[in-house]
Protein backbone atom coordinates (compact mmCIF):
# COMPACT_ATOMS: atom_id res chain seq x y z
CA UNK A 1 0.00 0.00 0.00
CA UNK A 2 1.35 3.37 -0.98
CA UNK A 3 1.81 5.89 1.75
CA UNK A 4 -0.32 8.90 1.10
CA UNK A 5 1.81 12.01 1.29
CA UNK A 6 -0.82 14.35 2.60
CA UNK A 7 0.25 17.83 3.50
CA UNK A 8 2.34 20.13 1.37
CA UNK A 9 5.72 21.18 2.71
CA UNK A 10 4.12 24.30 4.04
CA UNK A 11 1.28 22.56 5.86
CA UNK A 12 3.78 20.05 7.21
CA UNK A 13 5.86 22.82 8.70
CA UNK A 14 2.77 24.25 10.31
CA UNK A 15 2.13 20.87 11.88
CA UNK A 16 5.73 20.66 13.11
CA UNK A 17 5.42 24.08 14.73
CA UNK A 18 2.21 23.10 16.52
CA UNK A 19 3.85 19.90 17.80
CA UNK A 20 6.88 21.87 18.96
CA UNK A 21 4.74 24.32 20.95
CA UNK A 22 2.71 21.49 22.46
CA UNK A 23 5.93 19.67 23.41
CA UNK A 24 7.39 22.77 25.05
CA UNK A 25 4.16 23.31 26.96
CA UNK A 26 3.91 19.72 28.18
CA UNK A 27 7.59 19.41 29.09
CA UNK A 28 8.63 22.87 30.30
CA UNK A 29 5.28 24.43 31.18
CA UNK A 30 5.79 27.50 28.99
CA UNK A 31 2.78 28.15 26.80
CA UNK A 32 3.50 29.76 23.44
CA UNK A 33 0.53 28.18 21.71
CA UNK A 34 -1.33 31.48 21.43
CA UNK A 35 1.59 33.57 20.29
CA UNK A 36 1.08 35.37 16.96
CA UNK A 37 2.16 32.85 14.37
CA UNK A 38 4.16 34.92 11.87
CA UNK A 39 6.67 36.41 14.31
CA UNK A 40 6.87 33.17 16.31
CA UNK A 41 7.77 31.27 13.13
CA UNK A 42 10.58 33.73 12.40
CA UNK A 43 12.00 33.42 15.89
CA UNK A 44 11.81 29.63 15.87
CA UNK A 45 13.54 29.58 12.47
CA UNK A 46 16.28 31.88 13.70
CA UNK A 47 16.97 29.53 16.63
CA UNK A 48 16.83 26.49 14.35
CA UNK A 49 19.41 27.94 11.94
CA UNK A 50 21.69 29.05 14.77
CA UNK A 51 21.58 25.50 16.15
CA UNK A 52 22.68 24.26 12.72
CA UNK A 53 19.47 22.31 12.21
CA UNK A 54 17.21 21.94 9.20
CA UNK A 55 13.71 21.18 10.40
CA UNK A 56 11.45 22.21 13.25
CA UNK A 57 11.14 18.54 14.19
CA UNK A 58 14.92 18.38 14.67
CA UNK A 59 14.72 21.47 16.86
CA UNK A 60 11.95 19.80 18.87
CA UNK A 61 14.17 16.80 19.50
CA UNK A 62 17.00 18.99 20.78
CA UNK A 63 14.74 21.28 22.82
CA UNK A 64 13.09 18.43 24.66
CA UNK A 65 16.36 16.68 25.52
CA UNK A 66 18.57 19.69 26.17
CA UNK A 67 17.24 22.26 28.65
CA UNK A 68 20.02 24.67 27.66
CA UNK A 69 18.73 24.71 24.11
CA UNK A 70 15.32 25.60 25.50
CA UNK A 71 16.93 28.40 27.54
CA UNK A 72 18.39 29.79 24.33
CA UNK A 73 14.99 29.73 22.62
CA UNK A 74 13.46 31.40 25.66
CA UNK A 75 15.97 34.25 25.30
CA UNK A 76 15.11 34.53 21.60
CA UNK A 77 11.44 34.76 22.52
CA UNK A 78 11.89 37.44 25.17
CA UNK A 79 14.52 39.79 23.76
CA UNK A 80 13.21 42.66 21.71
CA UNK A 81 15.16 45.56 20.32
CA UNK A 82 14.09 48.83 21.86
CA UNK A 83 15.68 52.07 22.98
CA UNK A 84 15.59 54.18 26.14
CA UNK A 85 12.81 56.74 25.86
CA UNK A 86 11.50 55.08 22.70
CA UNK A 87 8.78 57.41 21.34
CA UNK A 88 9.79 60.56 23.28
CA UNK A 89 6.27 61.96 22.89
CA UNK A 90 4.98 59.04 24.95
CA UNK A 91 7.25 59.91 27.88
CA UNK A 92 6.29 63.55 27.54
CA UNK A 93 2.63 62.57 27.85
CA UNK A 94 3.47 60.43 30.88
CA UNK A 95 5.09 63.45 32.54
CA UNK A 96 2.33 65.88 31.69
CA UNK A 97 -0.82 63.79 31.95
CA UNK A 98 -0.10 60.75 34.13
CA UNK A 99 2.36 62.02 36.75
CA UNK A 100 -0.22 64.53 38.10
CA UNK A 101 -2.61 61.59 38.61
CA UNK A 102 0.09 59.54 40.33
CA UNK A 103 0.94 62.42 42.66
CA UNK A 104 -2.51 62.09 44.25
CA UNK A 105 -1.50 58.76 45.81
CA UNK A 106 0.66 58.53 48.95
CA UNK A 107 2.47 55.56 47.45
CA UNK A 108 2.63 54.59 43.77
CA UNK A 109 3.00 51.13 42.30
CA UNK A 110 4.03 50.78 38.65
CA UNK A 111 4.16 47.52 36.68
CA UNK A 112 6.53 47.43 33.76
CA UNK A 113 5.26 44.20 32.18
CA UNK A 114 7.61 42.64 29.65
CA UNK A 115 10.65 44.69 30.65
CA UNK A 116 13.01 42.73 28.37
CA UNK A 117 16.56 44.06 28.80
CA UNK A 118 15.58 47.08 30.89
CA UNK A 119 15.67 50.09 28.55
CA UNK A 120 12.07 50.96 29.38
CA UNK A 121 12.45 50.28 33.12
CA UNK A 122 15.40 52.65 33.46
CA UNK A 123 13.57 55.29 31.40
CA UNK A 124 10.57 55.06 33.75
CA UNK A 125 12.83 55.15 36.82
CA UNK A 126 14.57 58.31 35.57
CA UNK A 127 11.26 59.96 34.79
CA UNK A 128 9.77 59.21 38.23
CA UNK A 129 12.99 60.36 39.89
CA UNK A 130 12.89 63.68 38.05
CA UNK A 131 9.25 64.17 38.92
CA UNK A 132 10.04 63.73 42.62
CA UNK A 133 8.22 60.40 42.82
CA UNK A 134 11.33 58.25 43.08
CA UNK A 135 11.09 57.83 46.84
CA UNK A 136 7.43 56.96 47.00
CA UNK A 137 7.10 54.87 43.85
CA UNK A 138 7.90 51.24 43.39
CA UNK A 139 8.34 49.78 39.91
CA UNK A 140 7.79 46.06 39.40
CA UNK A 141 9.74 45.10 36.27
CA UNK A 142 8.86 41.63 35.04
CA UNK A 143 9.63 39.40 32.11
CA UNK A 144 8.96 35.81 31.16
CA UNK A 145 12.67 34.96 31.24
CA UNK A 146 14.85 35.39 34.34
CA UNK A 147 18.05 35.57 32.26
CA UNK A 148 16.67 38.69 30.64
CA UNK A 149 15.42 40.05 33.97
CA UNK A 150 18.93 39.72 35.47
CA UNK A 151 20.31 41.54 32.44
CA UNK A 152 17.73 44.30 32.88
CA UNK A 153 18.73 44.77 36.51
CA UNK A 154 22.33 45.54 35.53
CA UNK A 155 21.29 48.70 33.70
CA UNK A 156 24.19 48.31 31.32
CA UNK A 157 23.76 49.33 27.72
CA UNK A 158 26.03 49.76 24.74
CA UNK A 159 27.88 53.06 24.84
CA UNK A 160 27.31 53.67 21.14
CA UNK A 161 23.57 53.90 21.85
CA UNK A 162 23.96 56.84 24.22
CA UNK A 163 23.83 59.52 21.54
CA UNK A 164 20.42 58.25 20.36
CA UNK A 165 19.16 57.76 23.92
CA UNK A 166 20.29 61.27 24.85
CA UNK A 167 18.35 62.72 21.91
CA UNK A 168 15.26 60.75 22.92
CA UNK A 169 15.67 61.84 26.54
CA UNK A 170 15.87 65.51 25.60
CA UNK A 171 12.86 65.27 23.30
CA UNK A 172 10.90 63.47 26.04
CA UNK A 173 11.19 66.52 28.31
CA UNK A 174 14.15 65.31 30.38
CA UNK A 175 15.12 67.77 33.07
CA UNK A 176 18.77 66.94 33.75
CA UNK A 177 21.91 66.14 31.84
CA UNK A 178 21.49 62.56 30.60
CA UNK A 179 25.16 61.70 31.06
CA UNK A 180 24.84 62.34 34.81
CA UNK A 181 22.86 59.11 35.04
CA UNK A 182 25.56 56.73 33.81
CA UNK A 183 29.26 55.96 34.03
CA UNK A 184 31.30 54.66 31.13
CA UNK A 185 33.16 51.36 31.42
CA UNK A 186 34.88 50.43 28.16
CA UNK A 187 32.21 50.24 25.48
CA UNK A 188 29.40 50.09 28.02
CA UNK A 189 27.34 52.68 29.85
CA UNK A 190 26.36 51.57 33.36
CA UNK A 191 23.39 53.42 34.83
CA UNK A 192 23.42 54.58 38.43
CA UNK A 193 22.22 51.55 40.46
CA UNK A 194 20.47 53.85 42.93
CA UNK A 195 17.95 54.61 40.17
CA UNK A 196 16.55 51.12 40.65
CA UNK A 197 16.68 50.97 44.46
CA UNK A 198 12.90 51.01 44.34
CA UNK A 199 12.55 48.60 41.44
CA UNK A 200 11.61 44.98 42.02
CA UNK A 201 12.88 42.81 39.18
CA UNK A 202 11.08 39.49 38.93
CA UNK A 203 10.15 36.73 36.56
CA UNK A 204 6.49 36.72 35.62
CA UNK A 205 4.73 35.02 32.73
CA UNK A 206 1.80 37.04 31.39
CA UNK A 207 0.33 33.91 29.82
CA UNK A 208 0.17 31.68 32.89
CA UNK A 209 0.88 33.69 36.07
CA UNK A 210 -1.85 35.56 37.88
CA UNK A 211 -2.11 39.05 39.33
CA UNK A 212 0.27 39.79 42.21
CA UNK A 213 -0.51 43.37 43.23
CA UNK A 214 -2.72 46.40 42.59
CA UNK A 215 -1.11 49.02 40.38
CA UNK A 216 -1.61 52.69 39.64
CA UNK A 217 0.18 52.46 36.31
CA UNK A 218 0.84 49.49 34.04
CA UNK A 219 3.28 50.00 31.17
CA UNK A 220 3.21 47.18 28.62
CA UNK A 221 4.41 48.51 25.29
CA UNK A 222 5.00 46.34 22.22
CA UNK A 223 4.77 43.13 24.23
CA UNK A 224 1.28 41.96 23.31
CA UNK A 225 1.98 42.41 19.59
CA UNK A 226 3.58 38.97 19.91
CA UNK A 227 0.29 37.46 21.11
CA UNK A 228 -2.75 36.44 19.07
CA UNK A 229 -6.04 38.17 19.72
CA UNK A 230 -7.39 35.59 22.13
CA UNK A 231 -4.25 35.72 24.27
CA UNK A 232 -4.25 39.52 24.12
CA UNK A 233 -7.75 39.44 25.52
CA UNK A 234 -6.68 37.20 28.42
CA UNK A 235 -3.77 39.48 29.28
CA UNK A 236 -6.12 42.45 29.19
CA UNK A 237 -8.26 40.61 31.75
CA UNK A 238 -5.16 40.29 33.92
CA UNK A 239 -4.29 43.98 33.58
CA UNK A 240 -7.86 45.02 34.28
CA UNK A 241 -7.83 43.00 37.50
CA UNK A 242 -4.40 44.41 38.42
CA UNK A 243 -5.22 48.09 38.00
CA UNK A 244 -6.77 50.17 40.76
CA UNK A 245 -9.84 52.08 39.65
CA UNK A 246 -8.58 55.17 37.78
CA UNK A 247 -5.24 53.42 37.30
CA UNK A 248 -3.56 54.03 33.94
CA UNK A 249 -2.70 51.51 31.23
CA UNK A 250 0.02 52.37 28.67
CA UNK A 251 0.38 50.44 25.40
CA UNK A 252 2.58 50.84 22.32
CA UNK A 253 1.75 53.36 19.59
CA UNK A 254 0.29 50.74 17.26
CA UNK A 255 -1.70 48.80 19.85
CA UNK A 256 -5.26 49.34 21.02
CA UNK A 257 -8.09 48.08 23.20
CA UNK A 258 -10.28 47.82 20.11
CA UNK A 259 -10.21 44.03 19.84
CA UNK A 260 -10.59 43.32 23.54
CA UNK A 261 -13.63 42.88 25.76
CA UNK A 262 -12.47 45.81 27.90
CA UNK A 263 -13.05 48.69 25.49
CA UNK A 264 -15.74 50.19 27.71
CA UNK A 265 -13.78 49.79 30.94
CA UNK A 266 -11.34 52.55 30.07
CA UNK A 267 -11.40 56.18 29.08
CA UNK A 268 -8.76 57.87 26.99
CA UNK A 269 -6.08 59.89 28.77
CA UNK A 270 -4.17 60.41 25.52
CA UNK A 271 -5.40 58.62 22.39
CA UNK A 272 -2.28 59.14 20.30
CA UNK A 273 0.05 57.99 23.05
CA UNK A 274 -2.19 55.02 23.90
CA UNK A 275 -2.77 55.99 27.53
CA UNK A 276 -6.05 54.83 29.09
CA UNK A 277 -7.56 55.19 32.53
CA UNK A 278 -9.59 52.39 34.08
CA UNK A 279 -13.08 53.67 34.90
CA UNK A 280 -14.94 50.45 35.69
Amino acid sequence: MAIRVGPTRHALEDLELRLLLEGIYQHYGYDFREYARASLRRRVWRRLLEEGLETISALQDRLLHDPQCFERLLVDLSVTVTTMFRDPSFYQALREKVVPLLRTYPFVRVWNAGCSTGEETFSLAILLHEEGLGERARIYATDINDVVVRQAKLGTFSLEKMREYTQNYIRSGGKASFSDYYKVYGDKARFDPSLVDNVVFAQHNLVSDSEFNQFHLIVCRNVMIYFDRSLQDKVHDLFHRSLVRFGVLALGHKESLRFTSHTDDYEEVDGREKLWRRIS
Binding site: H10, A36, R37, A38, S39, R41, R42, R43, T80, V81, T82, T83, R86, Q167, N222, M224, I225, Y226, R229, Q232, G252, H253, K254, E255, S256, F259
Partner: protein
Protein backbone atom coordinates in the same frame (compact mmCIF):
# COMPACT_ATOMS: atom_id res chain seq x y z
CA UNK B 1 3.70 35.49 -18.42
CA UNK B 2 3.56 39.15 -19.36
CA UNK B 3 0.08 38.72 -20.78
CA UNK B 4 -1.25 36.69 -17.88
CA UNK B 5 -4.16 38.10 -16.01
CA UNK B 6 -3.16 38.39 -12.37
CA UNK B 7 -5.77 38.55 -9.65
CA UNK B 8 -3.91 38.31 -6.37
CA UNK B 9 -5.58 38.56 -2.96
CA UNK B 10 -2.74 40.68 -1.62
CA UNK B 11 -0.01 42.87 -3.10
CA UNK B 12 3.14 43.62 -1.06
CA UNK B 13 5.52 46.40 -2.05
CA UNK B 14 9.03 47.10 -0.76
CA UNK B 15 11.24 50.09 -1.42
CA UNK B 16 14.04 52.14 0.07
CA UNK B 17 16.06 55.07 -1.31
CA UNK B 18 13.89 57.05 -3.71
CA UNK B 19 10.83 55.08 -2.63
CA UNK B 20 8.46 57.89 -1.72
CA UNK B 21 8.33 59.25 -5.28
CA UNK B 22 8.18 55.78 -6.81
CA UNK B 23 5.31 54.87 -4.48
CA UNK B 24 3.51 58.09 -5.36
CA UNK B 25 3.70 57.11 -9.04
CA UNK B 26 2.65 53.51 -8.36
CA UNK B 27 -0.28 54.38 -6.09
CA UNK B 28 -1.22 57.37 -8.25
CA UNK B 29 -2.05 55.00 -11.11
CA UNK B 30 -4.60 53.01 -9.07
CA UNK B 31 -8.26 53.55 -9.90
CA UNK B 32 -10.43 54.57 -6.90
CA UNK B 33 -12.22 51.22 -6.96
CA UNK B 34 -8.97 49.19 -6.98
CA UNK B 35 -9.99 46.16 -4.93
CA UNK B 36 -6.79 44.35 -3.96
CA UNK B 37 -5.35 45.24 -0.54
CA UNK B 38 -1.76 46.42 -0.64
CA UNK B 39 0.92 46.42 2.09
CA UNK B 40 3.87 48.76 1.69
CA UNK B 41 7.24 48.84 3.45
CA UNK B 42 9.37 51.93 2.89
CA UNK B 43 12.70 52.08 4.72
CA UNK B 44 12.98 55.11 6.93
CA UNK B 45 14.48 56.22 10.23
CA UNK B 46 13.06 55.18 13.59
CA UNK B 47 12.44 58.84 14.40
CA UNK B 48 10.48 59.66 11.24
CA UNK B 49 7.24 61.29 12.23
CA UNK B 50 4.16 59.16 12.36
CA UNK B 51 1.74 59.77 9.54
CA UNK B 52 3.96 61.92 7.31
CA UNK B 53 4.46 59.22 4.68
CA UNK B 54 0.79 58.23 4.78
CA UNK B 55 -0.33 61.83 4.21
CA UNK B 56 2.13 62.27 1.35
CA UNK B 57 0.99 59.06 -0.37
CA UNK B 58 -2.69 59.81 0.18
CA UNK B 59 -2.28 63.06 -1.73
CA UNK B 60 -1.38 61.00 -4.80
CA UNK B 61 -3.63 58.00 -4.31
CA UNK B 62 -7.38 57.58 -4.88
CA UNK B 63 -7.52 54.48 -2.66
CA UNK B 64 -7.52 55.02 1.13
CA UNK B 65 -3.99 54.87 2.59
CA UNK B 66 -3.38 54.16 6.28
CA UNK B 67 -0.70 53.00 8.67
CA UNK B 68 -1.18 49.41 9.81
CA UNK B 69 -1.94 48.83 13.50
CA UNK B 70 -1.21 45.54 15.22
CA UNK B 71 -3.86 42.89 14.39
CA UNK B 72 -5.62 45.11 11.82
CA UNK B 73 -7.81 43.06 9.49
CA UNK B 74 -6.59 43.24 5.88
CA UNK B 75 -9.47 44.89 4.06
CA UNK B 76 -10.07 45.17 0.34
CA UNK B 77 -9.52 48.49 -1.33
CA UNK B 78 -6.98 49.74 1.21
CA UNK B 79 -3.28 50.55 1.03
CA UNK B 80 -1.49 49.81 4.33
CA UNK B 81 1.87 51.36 5.20
CA UNK B 82 4.14 49.66 7.72
CA UNK B 83 4.87 51.95 10.70
CA UNK B 84 8.46 53.10 11.26
CA UNK B 85 10.57 51.15 13.79
CA UNK B 86 8.38 48.02 13.60
CA UNK B 87 8.46 45.01 11.32
CA UNK B 88 5.20 44.52 9.42
CA UNK B 89 4.14 40.89 9.17
CA UNK B 90 1.19 39.30 7.39
CA UNK B 91 -0.97 36.59 8.93
CA UNK B 92 -3.95 35.10 7.12
CA UNK B 93 -6.32 38.05 6.83
CA UNK B 94 -4.58 40.35 9.29
CA UNK B 95 -1.37 42.19 10.08
CA UNK B 96 0.98 41.70 13.02
CA UNK B 97 3.86 43.90 14.15
CA UNK B 98 7.13 43.01 15.84
CA UNK B 99 10.09 44.78 17.42
CA UNK B 100 12.52 41.97 16.65
CA UNK B 101 16.04 42.99 15.64
CA UNK B 102 16.47 44.77 12.30
CA UNK B 103 16.82 42.44 9.31
CA UNK B 104 19.30 43.50 6.58
CA UNK B 105 19.87 46.53 8.84
CA UNK B 106 16.25 47.57 8.42
CA UNK B 107 13.14 47.80 10.55
CA UNK B 108 10.70 47.67 8.87
CA UNK B 109 12.32 45.04 6.68
CA UNK B 110 11.03 44.11 3.23
CA UNK B 111 12.23 40.52 3.68
CA UNK B 112 10.10 40.14 6.80
CA UNK B 113 7.00 41.49 5.04
CA UNK B 114 7.52 39.35 1.93
CA UNK B 115 8.37 36.11 3.76
CA UNK B 116 5.42 36.31 6.12
CA UNK B 117 3.07 37.25 3.27
CA UNK B 118 4.38 34.34 1.18
CA UNK B 119 3.64 31.98 4.08
CA UNK B 120 0.11 33.25 4.48
CA UNK B 121 -0.94 33.94 0.87
CA UNK B 122 1.20 31.55 -1.23
CA UNK B 123 0.16 31.75 -4.91
CA UNK B 124 -2.38 34.52 -4.22
CA UNK B 125 0.41 37.02 -3.64
CA UNK B 126 2.11 39.57 -5.89
CA UNK B 127 5.33 41.13 -4.54
CA UNK B 128 6.76 44.32 -6.02
CA UNK B 129 10.31 45.60 -5.52
CA UNK B 130 11.02 49.25 -6.30
CA UNK B 131 14.04 51.55 -6.11
CA UNK B 132 16.57 51.16 -3.29
CA UNK B 133 20.26 51.13 -2.46
CA UNK B 134 20.62 47.88 -0.49
CA UNK B 135 19.62 44.25 -0.85
CA UNK B 136 16.64 43.97 1.47
CA UNK B 137 13.84 42.19 -0.39
CA UNK B 138 15.95 39.56 -2.15
CA UNK B 139 15.39 36.77 0.38
CA UNK B 140 11.75 37.79 0.62
CA UNK B 141 11.28 37.67 -3.15
CA UNK B 142 12.80 34.19 -3.18
CA UNK B 143 10.30 33.07 -0.53
CA UNK B 144 7.44 34.50 -2.58
CA UNK B 145 8.55 32.47 -5.61
CA UNK B 146 8.98 29.31 -3.50
CA UNK B 147 5.38 29.59 -2.33
CA UNK B 148 4.09 30.09 -5.88
CA UNK B 149 3.59 33.86 -5.82
CA UNK B 150 4.50 36.41 -8.47
CA UNK B 151 7.43 38.86 -8.25
CA UNK B 152 7.47 42.09 -10.24
CA UNK B 153 10.53 44.34 -10.19
CA UNK B 154 11.10 47.92 -11.22
CA UNK B 155 13.60 48.08 -14.10
CA UNK B 156 16.82 49.16 -12.34
CA UNK B 157 17.49 51.54 -15.22
CA UNK B 158 14.31 53.47 -14.35
CA UNK B 159 15.01 53.50 -10.61
CA UNK B 160 16.42 56.37 -8.54
CA UNK B 161 18.76 53.77 -7.04
CA UNK B 162 19.19 50.50 -8.98
CA UNK B 163 20.90 48.29 -6.34
CA UNK B 164 17.85 46.83 -4.65
CA UNK B 165 15.87 45.81 -7.77
CA UNK B 166 19.12 44.64 -9.40
CA UNK B 167 19.93 42.40 -6.41
CA UNK B 168 16.53 40.73 -6.69
CA UNK B 169 16.81 40.20 -10.44
CA UNK B 170 20.31 38.79 -9.95
CA UNK B 171 19.33 36.17 -7.35
CA UNK B 172 15.71 35.31 -8.02
CA UNK B 173 13.85 34.18 -11.11
CA UNK B 174 11.42 37.07 -11.18
CA UNK B 175 8.31 37.19 -13.34
CA UNK B 176 8.53 40.63 -14.89
CA UNK B 177 10.93 43.57 -14.96
CA UNK B 178 9.21 46.79 -16.00
CA UNK B 179 9.92 50.52 -16.01
CA UNK B 180 8.00 52.32 -13.28
CA UNK B 181 5.23 53.66 -15.50
CA UNK B 182 4.41 50.27 -17.03
CA UNK B 183 4.75 48.55 -13.69
CA UNK B 184 2.19 50.97 -12.26
CA UNK B 185 -0.19 50.32 -15.18
CA UNK B 186 0.28 46.56 -14.80
CA UNK B 187 -0.70 46.68 -11.15
CA UNK B 188 -3.57 49.10 -11.71
CA UNK B 189 -5.14 46.52 -14.03
CA UNK B 190 -5.10 43.73 -11.47
CA UNK B 191 -8.27 42.38 -9.98
CA UNK B 192 -10.50 44.60 -12.06
CA UNK B 193 -11.55 42.10 -14.70
CA UNK B 194 -14.23 39.52 -13.99
Amino acid sequence: MAEDLLSPRLIVVGTSWGGADALAALLGALPPEFPVPMAVVQHRGADSLEGVLVRFLQEHCAVPVREADDKDAIEDGTVYVGPSDYHLLVEKGSFALSVDPPVTLSRPSIDVLFESAADSYGPDLVAVVLTGANRDGTDGARAVKEQGGVVLVQDPGSATRPEMPAAVIHSVEVDEVLPLERLAARIAGMGLEP
